[in-house]
């Protein structure tokens, strides 16, 4: 799951850090700040929305993960079973009602994740 969703997180973080005006970090250095202080007081706070957006998308991607999980980690309820695998299980067993309930949960999570991600990314420009 992590392997499959990690690129989304990395991409979100990378874009967030690249968008920071380098002048802010340079000026902080002229004010006597060490590289670590610049990172924690300037870079990280300014990139945090991108990082949160990336985390949410990566989480949503992870719980919907199917192929890699079933091949590598298996389909163990309570341990390696993702939402997508749980739906697959219920369909296989003919428990369509449960499958639809899980499907509804998946749809809600997908929309909420997308909404949060869009909201934090949209506000990023305003915060700068």
């Amino acid at each position: 799951m992590m392997v499959m969703s990690f690129p989304l997180l990395v991409r979100g973080c990378r874009v967030a850090f690249e968008e920071i005006n380098a002048r802010l970090e340079q000026v902080a250095k002229t004010l006597g700040a060490s590289d670590a202080r610049v990172f924690f007081t300037i870079s990280l706070p300014l990139a945090r929305r991108g990082i949160i957006g990336g985390l949410v998308l990566a989480f949503a991607r992870a719980i919907g993960e199917f192929g890699a999980t079933i091949l590598v980690a298996g389909n163990i309820p309570g341990r390696t079973q993702t939402l997508a695998l749980a739906i697959y299980d219920r369909v296989q067993l003919g428990h369509d009602g449960e499958a639809f309930r899980f499907l509804a949960v998946a749809v809600v999570i997908a929309f909420v994740a997308l909404w949060i991600s869009e909201a934090v990314l949209r506000n990023r420009g305003a915060a700068r």
Binding site: K29, T30, G32, P45, A127
Partner: protein, 216 residues
């Protein structure tokens, strides 16, 4: 204050910056057209760029000397820098911006000189252009800089604000006694504040001298 730039060479996108000059006035103007290398010169003095060759010294402190491998990092130079776009930290209040590099004892005096007392709790993104410029000046000044670098400090401000900010800069020069390098492409600003001026064109010094003589 005596700033010595000796054979300072730096590769830029379209040409090399090559500068030799000894500057000793309270305010030295760096004058030239856009793209002459003025901002790159300030970046170099601030320690934000690495020289290809040359030596930079302020009084008896050597900041760069390529021949013996000296390069003092920007954070150890105590050189204040106010970029053209101010580069205020947008996620911090006015007071947090000002105190970022402070020297506690200097904060109140600088806030007083720049008349920022009523703005301290505000966010910097909500300030006017002139207020943002004063905050950027204050933030640089509270570190008790050996030298203040100003990049087009009046650019983008209305005409009426020019005189007001210039008056603040004159107070900084006279009351806080901080020497400055003042970059601009507007000769009237230099006539108002700079005793000495260096004229740059395509990375080369084409004239150095008293502002009245060089700018005419």
């Amino acid at each position: 204050m005596r700033l010595v730039l000796e054979g300072v060479t730096l590769a830029l996108a379209h040409f090399d910056l090559e500068i030799t000059a000894g500057l000793s006035s309270r305010v030295t103007g760096i004058f030239g057209p856009s793209g002459a290398g003025k901002t790159s010169l300030l970046d170099t003095v601030a320690g934000l760029r690495t020289l290809r060759a040359g030596r930079i010294a302020l009084d008896d402190i050597v900041f760069d000397d390529k021949s013996v491998g000296i390069h003092v990092a920007a954070r150890h130079r105590r050189i204040g820098y106010v970029p053209q776009e101010n580069a205020l930290f947008p996620h911090m209040s006015v007071l947090r911006n000002i105190r970022y590099g402070a020297g506690e004892e200097e904060v109140e005096r600088v806030i007083d000189v720049l008349e920022l007392g009523h703005l301290l709790g505000r966010g910097v993104t909500a300030l006017s252009g002139g207020e943002q410029k004063r905050v950027a000046l204050a933030r640089a000044l509270v570190t008790s800089p050996r030298l203040l670098l100003l990049d087009e400090p009046l650019a983008g401000l209305d005409r009426p604000l020019h005189a007001r900010i210039l008056a603040f800069l004159q107070r900084i020069r006279d009351e806080l006694r901080v020497p400055m390098l003042y970059v601009t492409h507007d000769p009237t600003e230099l006539q108002a504040i700079a005793e000495e001026t260096v004229v740059l064109d395509r990375g080369r010094v084409v004239a150095v001298g008293a502002t009245a003589e060089v700018i005419g």
